[in-house]
């Protein structure tokens, strides 16, 4: 939220996020140059993430929460493009919902669009290599994306206020009430989502989750 971080921290997190955003932007530019048809697909993916972030999910604490959609984006597009899409979604949240903010944009992009997706993408690649079942891979990737996002947000606040260890524990405890149930619910949601998508449009999912060929069966 606007006003929560001092200007030094705002500048620090924005500077840290910039290389990832620039890399993501060049990835998008390359995709658009190689196949201009992908422009609309990317834009619709961004809109899809934005619409997802407005869906209210039931939370264990009795309140409702919103999915971030970055887990989905990480699996389908990687970290760089997720960072750029996060910038757009966070700008929309600031301008259409007055959530987040402009001075804290760098910090928010770093936690939601870079740190979470970066760790989750690494784990996702390892799980794909280790041939872990699709449902487990999706669940862990999505939960991890949300979980790391909330840990990094706590770290950002703990660095800005009080003694680091004490503050970190306090901020983690406050966020845990809503964020851990949200991460689990979003994990379940995307596991069911990928399962339905595999059945409805296998051509979309085979790029990320290639099907095992069964010997002796005609394709």
């Amino acid at each position: 939220m606007e006003g929560y971080l001092s200007w030094e921290w705002c500048l620090f997190w924005a500077t840290l996020s910039l290389p990832f955003i620039v890399y993501g932007f060049y990835s998008i530019k390359r995709i658009m140059r190689d196949d201009p048809n992908q422009k609309t697909v990317l834009a619709l993916s961004g809109a899809f993430i934005f619409v997802l972030s407005s869906l209210k999910l039931p939370s264990v604490t009795g309140s409702s929460s919103h999915p971030t959609g970055t887990g989905f984006s990480t699996m389908f597009y990687g970290v760089g493009i997720t960072a750029v899409l996060s910038v757009i979604v966070l700008l929309f949240q600031a301008l259409l919902l007055a959530h987040g903010g402009l001075t804290t944009l760098g910090a928010n992009v770093f936690s939601m669009g870079i740190a979470g997706p970066l760790v989750a993408y690494a784990v996702f690649r390892v799980m794909r290599k280790a041939k872990v079942p699709t449902s487990v891979t999706v669940f862990i990737t999505v939960v991890l994306t949300d979980f790391i996002t909330y840990v990094v947000t706590s770290v950002q606040l703990a660095l800005a206020y009080g003694t680091f260890n004490e503050s970190l524990i306090s901020f983690l405890s406050v966020f845990a009430i809503t964020q851990i149930p949200l991460a689990i619910v979003e994990g379940i949601l995307f596991t069911i989502f990928i399962d339905y998508l595999e059945r409805a449009r296998p051509d979309i999912t085979t790029r990320i989750f290639p099907k095992k060929e069964v010997a002796g069966v005609e394709p």
Binding site: G46, F48, P58, G101, L102
Partner: protein, 261 residues
């Protein structure tokens, strides 16, 4: 979701230069962040509330109230944690059976400063949001020499969001009619089905739109029916003067030891 955008199109400040508004808003936000005294964020809050009121013609709709209440809730929770974790001399403590929460003098000052800064930020952001539609913001980014592709992607995401929201609304209604939101697990399953439906339709729509746009010789331009104004000298002067005035106010308050955070 798009209530603020609707307000922006009917705002009293829609004809003001988006670039000018952006520079002015950023000046206020940065001045508020740089200040050590509570006085500066209070002044920024007053400016923000007056500008917001003027922007929405002093008719405060329900959505503004909801946003303010939500923000207040988040700001209060954050401020309580900040007051509890900041080191200093304990002035107040609460015993919560398992642990004790101590509020320090420095913590309370810091939390007050953060609360007023956040409120000032919300009011100023609401002014900008209720007076600047997204396509105007994208046009402003192009004028600021942000790569055209980014502004174009942003505009396309904004336009497609309406389409997807429309689709999501229809699916939500249909699912409700079929008792799709009965029970927590059933709700999650229904949302997953809705998401797949939305995703598949969005891919199909993207394919159709792409053909349509190619037929109309789409050249990646962000076109607007009414071009917004560029930044004038008046905006630059207003921003520079307000920054100087707030900076001086902060210095005066610090020297006088007034309302220090």
């Amino acid at each position: 979701m798009f209530e603020l955008d609707e307000l922006a199109y009917s705002s009293a400040c829609i004809k003001w230069s988006p670039m000018g508004k952006f520079v002015f808003v950023m000046t206020l936000l940065i001045s508020s962040l740089l200040a050590d005294s509570l006085m500066v964020p209070v002044v920024v809050l007053i400016i923000g509330v007056v500008l917001l009121g003027y922007s929405i013609r002093f008719k405060f709709p329900k959505v503004i109230g909801i946003i303010l209440l939500e923000s207040l809730g988040l700001i209060l929770i954050g401020s309580i944690v900040i007051a509890a974790v900041t080191a200093g001399d304990t002035v107040w403590s609460i015993d919560l059976y398992f642990f004790q929460v101590n509020f320090t003098d420095h913590g309370i000052f810091t939390a007050s400063l953060v609360t007023v800064r956040a409120l000032a930020g919300v009011s100023v952001m609401l002014f900008f949001a209720t007076s600047t539609p997204i396509p105007y913001f994208a046009d402003m980014l192009i004028r600021f020499k942000v790569p055209k592709e980014f502004a174009e992607l942003m505009t396309m995401v904004y336009r497609y969001s309406f389409m997807l929201f429309d689709e999501a609304g229809r699916m939500h209604l249909a699912a409700q009619c079929r008792l799709g939101f009965r029970g927590k697990m059933n709700t999650v399953r229904t949302y997953a089905q809705m998401m797949v439906g939305m995703f598949i339709r969005s891919i199909e729509t993207a394919e159709r739109h792409n053909i349509g746009m190619q037929c109309r010789n789409y050249q990646s331009n962000v076109c607007l029916f009414r071009e917004p104004k560029g930044i004038g000298y008046a905006w630059v002067a207003a921003s520079a003067l307000s920054f100087l005035a707030l900076y001086m106010l902060n210095l005066t308050c610090v020297q006088a030891g007034m309302l220090l955070g």
